[in-house]
Structure formats: structure tokens, C-alpha cells
């Protein structure tokens, strides 16, 4: 084969040469990730400057100069954070004005919530059959534990408060808004004109007004709408409104999922001889809900953050407790940022983990390739 004049051959492979020093190791990493262009270099320097300016001051404020013990605000010197209140007030941040001797009831409630949630979220658990029933019964158990009755001392709901109130309102909203949202979404796509018209106007109305105006309806107008002898507990009124509010948003998320199901699926259901509810339950909804899980979780997060709005109508949730302490003469002007930092952390931990979960699901469910 000497037809190709430039053909050369070598018997053995040449040894690999080491990559240039500037493209590997620490230097390489810094070059590609921090100084890849002049703009990037400027940004890096700017970020380091910002960090150097903010972080040491923040750490000094929060930890080094902080006061950990003390009885009153005046025990805290002005520089550095004042954490002296934590000791006496942290329980109120969590339980509100719930009687101290009954804190165990809230704790038991929380402990019982874990298996109830687990049986709802995961299929493959031991005793799953009974677990489902337990999950269904949990709200009743929790209500009895928290409010009282059946031998337990009755605790008025205006003593509920702190983060517990956010959790209760959020969980009730989450649990109830899902089924109502599904019904509304189905109603919006229904062939019955009156049902469709009703769902559309309900959804668009709720989504068109701020939650605070709806809460005003619950507090100010609802007593007007009901006969004078009927009094509805304030917390229940708030929960109803939060649930309705969330279900309108939920309905739109689920509608998106329903629209993504190809027509063939609906037709297949009909071809199998399934009725409307059967084909929804067995064919359409399992697929539609699966696609809309990320959106549903996002609605949950929004709903949970929105539970703080109850302070505007005079309930003392965790934000309300923080404001109470901030305006308390003993602590005035000393704990503004500290209390909010704590409240923010509570929300951040829960909302951030929910959003990570949804992101994770989104990635798992995303079957398209790029």
C-alpha cells in the first residue's frame, strides 16, 4: 500500500503529555471559573469585596458581639445581636399563647403527623392499608388533641399562635385545597356550561383580588352574611378563606396538567366503556396530577408563606409574636432584626426544602432530552 505518499506508521502509542499547568488543578479551576474574561474578573473582584464587607460584620454582629443572657432589653449593649430573649420567649414563638401545661398536646400532634404524611406520600410502607385509614383519620385526631373535648380540657382557638398557627393554617389549606382545586379544574373543562361558567368566575375572581381583602371578608363581612345566632370561630373563618384562596390557584395548576394530557387518553377511556368519573379517576387524573406536582408544591409554598397575613387581622402567628416582642417596652428597639431573623429561618427551612423536593421531582419527571 504505498499509494499514499504521506502515509506513516508508528509501532507504539506516544505517551500522553500532561495538560498545560494553567488548565488543571487549582490554577485551572480559578482561571475557568473566576477569571475567564475581563468581565468575569471584575465580577469576581466585586463579589469578594461584597463578601468581605458583609460577612465579617454579620458574623461579628450575630455571634461574636452577641449577648446571650439577660432579663431585659437593657441588658443588651447596642452593638451586636441581642439573643437574651430567646430563653424566655422561644416557646411563645412556637406555641403562641397555648397553655404551657398543654404543650405536650401540640407535640404529640406533630409526632403523629409524621406517619400520617409518610403514608400519604409513599406507597411502599408496611401496613399501608391501615396507614391510609390512619392518614384519613389524622385531621380528626389532631383537631381533638389541639382544641380539646373527649375528656381533654378545651382550649380556645384565640390562644393558638406562633409558628404552630402557621403550620395548622398551612396544613389545613394544603390538605383541603387539593380536592377542591381538582373539582374546580374539572369544572372549568366541563361540557356543562353552567358548571364551567361557575368555575371560571370563581377562579378568576379569587385570583384577581389580594388575599388580604378576602381575609377582611372573613372577619368583617361573614358575620353580616350569617344569621346573628350563628357565630363561627375566627380561626375557622380564616382557614376557610385560605383554603378557598389556595384552591383557585391549585385549580389553575391542575388545569395545566389536564391540558397536557393528549385527547387520545380521554378517548381511550371512553372506548373502554368507562364513565366520566371512572375515566378521570383511573386514567386522566393520575397522569395530570403527576405532571402538575411541581406546580402544586409551589402553590403549597406560596400558601404557607401567605399564612403570615393573619397578623393583619389580629391573630398572633410567628410574625405576630415577633412584632409583640419588638413593641414590648422591655425589649423596644433591641430585638427588631433578631426576632425577624428567627422567623425568617423557620420559613426558609420549610419552604426551601419543599422547593428542593419539587425541583427533584421535576427533574425525575422530565423525560424530554436536551
Amino acid at each position: 500500500m504505498t499509494k499514499y505518499a504521506f502515509h506513516r506508521s508508528r509501532a507504539e502509542m506516544l505517551p500522553e503529555r500532561a495538560p498545560p499547568l494553567t488548565s488543571t488543578g487549582v490554577i485551572g479551576w480559578v482561571r475557568t471559573n473566576l477569571f475567564s474574561s475581563w468581565l468575569s474578573a471584575v465580577l469576581t473582584v466585586a463579589s469578594i469585596a461584597v463578601l468581605a464587607l458583609v460577612l465579617p460584620g454579620l458574623i461579628e454582629w450575630a455571634f461574636i458581639d452577641a449577648t446571650l443572657t439577660g432579663e431585659l432589653g437593657k441588658d443588651c449593649p447596642s452593638e451586636g445581636a441581642c439573643w437574651a430573649w430567646l430563653d424566655q420567649r422561644i416557646t411563645q414563638f412556637f406555641y403562641g399563647f397555648y397553655p404551657v401545661e398543654s404543650y405536650w398536646r401540640v407535640n404529640v400532634c406533630l409526632a403523629l403527623l409524621v406517619p400520617a404524611l409518610a403514608y400519604m406520600l409513599f406507597d411502599k410502607l408496611p401496613y399501608a392499608r391501615y396507614g391510609r385509614w390512619y392518614s384519613l383519620a389524622y385531621p380528626v385526631i389532631a383537631a381533638i388533641l389541639l382544641v380539646g373535648g373527649l375528656g381533654l380540657e378545651v382550649i380556645r382557638t384565640d390562644q393558638f399562635g406562633g409558628f404552630m398557627l402557621n403550620l395548622i393554617a398551612g396544613l389545613v389549606g394544603i390538605v383541603l385545597s387539593l380536592p377542591i382545586g381538582i373539582l374546580l379544574a374539572l369544572g372549568r373543562r366541563s361540557r356543562m356550561p353552567i358548571v364551567r361558567w361557575f368555575s371560571v368566575s370563581f377562579i378568576e375572581f379569587i385570583r384577581g383580588v389580594p388575599l388580604i381583602t378576602l381575609l377582611f371578608v372573613a372577619i368583617i363581612l361573614l358575620p353580616l352574611f350569617l344569621p346573628p345566632q350563628v357565630t363561627l370561630d375566627q380561626l375557622i373563618r380564616v382557614m376557610i378563606i385560605i383554603t378557598l384562596f389556595a384552591s383557585a390557584y391549585m385549580a389553575e395548576v391542575i388545569r395545566g396538567g389536564l391540558q397536557a394530557i393528549p385527547n387520545g387518553q380521554y378517548e381511550a377511556g371512553q372506548a373502554m366503556g368507562l364513565g366520566y368519573w371512572q375515566s378521570m379517576r383511573l386514567i386522566i387524573l393520575p397522569q395530570a396530577l403527576k405532571i402538575s406536582i411541581p406546580g402544586i408544591v409551589n402553590t403549597f409554598i406560596g400558601l404557607f408563606k401567605d399564612t403570615t397575613l393573619v397578623i393583619i387581622i389580629g391573630l398572633f402567628d410567628i410574625l405576630g409574636q415577633a412584632r409583640l416582642l419588638q413593641t414590648n417596652p422591655d425589649w423596644l428597639g433591641k430585638v427588631d432584626y433578631e426576632t425577624f431573623l428567627l422567623a425568617a429561618l423557620f420559613f426558609f427551612v420549610i419552604c426551601f426544602s419543599m422547593s428542593r423536593y419539587s425541583l427533584n421531582l421535576e427533574k425525575r419527571l422530565d423525560t424530554t432530552r436536551r
Partner: protein, 396 residues
């Protein structure tokens, strides 16, 4: 059952079979729904009438013409304590629109910058931005509004105001800016700016047509700059600088003159724009990521520069993904501005709250709130839908 019921046929209708006929079932169900709603409405209306009568309250919107007798320090239009409730509502509505528009503009800027920075391949920048976005997104906006308000109130007192070149001041009563005073001849300059805008639109239209026909480009940006800024600037100096500023003057206990932005407005504006900005940055990021890498490479192969690639190739495609969720963020921002009531910024809800407490007209006040927000929402989504349609992919 002797008769044979043929569903939907011309034969007789057998009432006992109604439940197995889908259409009949639909009609019955809808009738029940209407009946239920009507009963509920009747129940509510009759209760309301009895309750109102027992409380000795009148209903109707006549109270809007009564004198309000309270002051509003944050206002865009003339208003005093002798004005009517109706005028107070207008002031509140304008304040809501003011903070919403300000918030939408800054949130969009923050969102785009943060979204692009988070995608940057600079490790440090993308991590810092990501941390900020995640923290801001996952903390309730109400907490952030009150937080910024507390910061505004913790600023130095008037005496120790932070001064910016002795023209603008920052203290715990807000921001004091020079207020423009328009003198004779300023109308011409303002009119010229408007003319410049119209002319630029016309030039752009013409340049597009010419480029389509001949392929030659025209520097629309520079022409627009000349028309909108250049010409009015020349005329401004030609007619003798007819614009003066009322600069705030520092006195011992207060600042005189100038234009005061209240701490409540600043706090609300900052909180809403950072909170919504964090959400928008995620939308922008997703939008840019949705444009496949091949598009960038194709633009590179055509010889387009980086900036041009972003402007002509990536952004137009990303915007299609970005606009619909952006609309709902704008609506959220507008609705979240109602949380102003927590810090006492005088938007429509907190003014309405005062009116409600004074007049006791709860039903009317709350219905006005809702009508206002519904109209605002409908207008915003109508505009955004129009814009979305304009940039949507035109398919053959």
C-alpha cells in the same frame, strides 16, 4: 317499564331512566347547582339585610360624597381633610398604582440582572446570587416589608441626615429629592420629547421596511437618541433652561421643600421589588435555558457577535417562555402591594380601612377594593396578553 326509552331519540322521555342518561343527568345537575347558588345568595342577602337593619346601618355608595376628615400625607393629587371619601379612595388607588408601577420596573431589572448573573460561569457570582434568590423567595413577603420598614425607621434622624451632595437627603422620614419646577417654555421641551418618541417609532418602522426591501441597515438607536434626547436638549438651552429645582433645605428639626418619598413607600417598594425580582430571576433563567445551545452556535456560525446573539437570537426566543409567567408575577406584585396596610403606607386598602372604621360601610368599602383589584388585574393581563401575542412565534 313498558315504554322503551330511547335516550336522545324522538321517543318519550322516561323520567325513571333520567339518571342513566348522561345529558339528562347534566341538565339535572346544573339545575341543582343553579338552585343551590340561588338559595345561598338569597340566604346571604336576607341575613345581610336583617343584620344591617338591626345594626341601624344604611347601605349604598352615598357615603363616598361625605367629608372624610382625615389627612393623607402620601398623595399624588390634591387632597385635604375637607375632601370626600371618594377622593380619598382615588388617592389610595393612585398610591397603589404608583408602588405597583415602581415595583414592576425595578423587579424586572433586578430579575433580569439576577437571572443572567446566576447563569454566569463565574462560580462566585452565580453562587452568591443563587443564595440571595433562594433566601428572598422562601421568606414571606410580609416579613420582608416590615423588615425594610424597620430599617428605614432606624436611619439617622433629620439632624444627622445622610446627604447626597446637599441636594438629596436620606433619613428616618424617608428620602428627600429635589423637586422639579417647570417654568415658561418647559412645555415646548416636554412636547419635543414626545415628538421625538413618535418620530423614533416612525424611523424604526421605515428602517425595518427598508431593511426588508434592500438589506441595508439604519442606526435606529442613534437616530432615536438624537431625536428624543438631543433635539430637546438643544432647545432646552436655546430657550434659556426653563427648568429649576426646588432643593430640600436642612433645618434643625425638619427638611423644607423638595420632594419627599415616605419611608413606608421606600420600604414597600424595596421589599416588593426584591421579592418579585427573585421570582422573576428564576423565570428569566428558565427562559434563557429553554433556548437550545444550537441557537447560540448557529449565531456564532453566522458571525454574529455575543451581544447581537443575545439581542437578536436568544432573547426573542426566551421572551416567549418568559412573558406568561412574568404576567402572573406582575399581578402578584400588584396584589402584594395591599400588604402596605401592615406598615401604614396609604394605599387603597389602608385608606379603605380608615374609611371603613369611620363610616362603618364595610360591604361597600370591601366591594370597592375588590372591584379595583379586579379591574387592575384584568387590565394588566389584557396588556400582557397583547404583548405576548405580538412576540409569539408566527407559524405558517
Amino acid at each position: 317499564m313498558s315504554k322503551k326509552a330511547a335516550p336522545g331519540g324522538s321517543g318519550g322521555f322516561d323520567i325513571s331512566r333520567a339518571w342513566t342518561d348522561e345529558r339528562a343527568r347534566g341538565v339535572i345537575f346544573q339545575l341543582l347547582l343553579v338552585l343551590g347558588l340561588a338559595l345561598l345568595a338569597a340566604f346571604i342577602v336576607s341575613n345581610t339585610i336583617t343584620n344591617l337593619r338591626e345594626a341601624g346601618l344604611s347601605s349604598g355608595y352615598g357615603f363616598l360624597f361625605d367629608t372624610s376628615a382625615f389627612d393623607i400625607n402620601q398623595r399624588l393629587v390634591e387632597y385635604s381633610s375637607t375632601s370626600t371619601y371618594g377622593q380619598a379612595f382615588v388617592v389610595g388607588a393612585l398610591n397603589t398604582i404608583l408602588v405597583a408601577v415602581m415595583g414592576v420596573v425595578t423587579a424586572t431589572v433586578i430579575g433580569f440582572v439576577a437571572g443572567v448573573l446566576r447563569l454566569s460561569n463565574n462560580f462566585l457570582v452565580s453562587r452568591i446570587v443563587a443564595a440571595w434568590v433562594e433566601f428572598t423567595r422562601n421568606v414571606p413577603v410580609l416579613l420582608q416589608i416590615i423588615f425594610w420598614w424597620l430599617i428605614m425607621l432606624a436611619l439617622p434622624r433629620v439632624r444627622d441626615s445622610i446627604s447626597f451632595g446637599d441636594a438629596a437627603f436620606l433619613n428616618n422620614r424617608g428620602i428627600f429629592l429635589p423637586a422639579p419646577i417647570f417654568e415658561d417654555g418647559s412645555a415646548i421641551v416636554l412636547a419635543l420629547i414626545l415628538v421625538g418618541v413618535v418620530a423614533t417609532v416612525a424611523v424604526r418602522y421605515w428602517a425595518r421596511k427598508r431593511q426588508d426591501a434592500t438589506g441595508r441597515t439604519f442606526p435606529v438607536g442613534w437616530a432615536g437618541l438624537g431625536l428624543i434626547v438631543g433635539v430637546p436638549l438643544i432647545v432646552y438651552f436655546a430657550v434659556g433652561q426653563p427648568l429649576d429645582f426646588d432643593i430640600p433645605e436642612k433645618k434643625k428639626f425638619n427638611l423644607k421643600g423638595g420632594f419627599n418619598v415616605t419611608p413606608e413607600l421606600v420600604a414597600l417598594w424595596l421589599a416588593l421589588s426584591t421579592y418579585t425580582g427573585a421570582f422573576i430571576s428564576e423565570i428569566v433563567r428558565a427562559g434563557i435555558l429553554s433556548v437550545s445551545k444550537g441557537q447560540t452556535e448557529a449565531a456564532g456560525a453566522l458571525g454574529l457577535r455575543r451581544g447581537l446573539t443575545m439581542r437578536k437570537i436568544i432573547l426573542p426566543q426566551a421572551l416567549r417562555v418568559i412573558i406568561p409567567p412574568m404576567t402572573s408575577q406582575y399581578l402578584n406584585l400588584t396584589k402584594n402591594s395591599s400588604l402596605a396596610v401592615a406598615i401604614g403606607y396609604q394605599d387603597i386598602v389602608s385608606i379603605g380601612d380608615t374609611i371603613l372604621n369611620q363610616s362603618g360601610q364595610a360591604l361597600e368599602v370591601i366591594s370597592l377594593y375588590m372591584a379595583f383589584y379586579l379591574v387592575l388585574s384584568l387590565l394588566t393581563s389584557a396588556f400582557m396578553n397583547w404583548y405576548n401575542k405580538r412576540i409569539a412565534l408566527v407559524e405558517r
